[in-house]
Symmetry: C5
Subunit: 86 residues, 5 copies
């Protein structure tokens, strides 16, 4: 799982049915690259989170039928930008 920071939510009026009403967040890594993750946890911008990829992302979204490849797995306690690299 990777460590990313929540940047903001993402709105896509036209999307596939398989995502249902799942909240989508733009997450970024320590180099500023952005990706999109489903959010069953309820995060807010600035939260440091760990994200779950591949088939486990579907299960972590709460329902294996949700068609995601990246899901926020939790909000990390006591993380900061300096800890991104050991």
């Amino acid at each position: 799982m990777r460590i990313q920071r929540v940047a903001r939510d993402l709105v896509a009026t036209e999307q596939v049915a398989g995502l249902g009403f799942t909240s989508l967040q733009v997450v970024e890594d320590d180099r500023g690259n952005v990706e999109v993750a489903t959010d069953p946890v309820g995060t807010k911008p600035g939260d440091f989170v760990f994200t779950i990829a591949t088939s486990a992302a579907r299960y972590a979204a709460g329902n294996a039928a949700i068609t995601t490849d990246l899901t926020i797995g939790g909000i990390i306690d006591h993380w900061s930008e300096e800890r991104w690299r050991s």
Copy 2:
């Protein structure tokens, strides 16, 4: 999921049966790298989209028997080239 832009459609007269009649789009990222995605949404060139990879791509294509590893999940509202990097 990643954020990509639709470049143009892709034509492959000889292809595996598992893709059926699914539309294929060439999508590019913020560095100009191109990939190919199945498109159940109905996008057009220039649309900013998020794409779904790995096993979820098959389900997102509308039918788990479709043999794709990348499917367009939705068209992003209010995205532009500047937002590709936070």
Copy 3:
């Protein structure tokens, strides 16, 4: 799915049973990196193809029991080296 070019076939006298008698091709990307793909399409060196990775590769090979992680999905019409980058 990625866009690659067929370089030549690959011969491996000792291999796992799960690949059966599937043809194997060495494919290369626009930077010259090589990988190996199963080929249910019947390609020849120089063909520009799109390749299917992860679990969909097994299904695209014609039989989910084939133990591959990369399968040639089709031969692209009208592609050339210049189009590899948009």
Copy 4:
């Protein structure tokens, strides 16, 4: 599977139910990049481990319902920083 070193444990008070009570470790590679792995082995900081990704990570965690994409597979005997590159 990749070779990584255990840095420290990770605490996430708010997390998805699918991870249960699995221990989470921050692991780093030879370039200092960090990731998060479930730990069914019982490692301690400084241990060199190999980690298992994708769907096998779920099974390696001891229960396929555990929603992880990276699991520590074992502690490597006789490894050191110099061996990270051949």
Copy 5:
């Protein structure tokens, strides 16, 4: 599938049960990056092999219950260091 070279075997006295008694090999790519693969073929150091990743790795290991994400698929005939890049 990727082309890698067998470097040496890997010993991990403490490891997850899911790997059983499968032989583990350290494999390296053309840049000297190392990874760990299960070996159902019986390779020796110096062999050029192709390796199978993601869910197919479990099946290629001879038993889908084996918790690996990388399995040696075969020994390549007539390969050499110069052929690693086309």
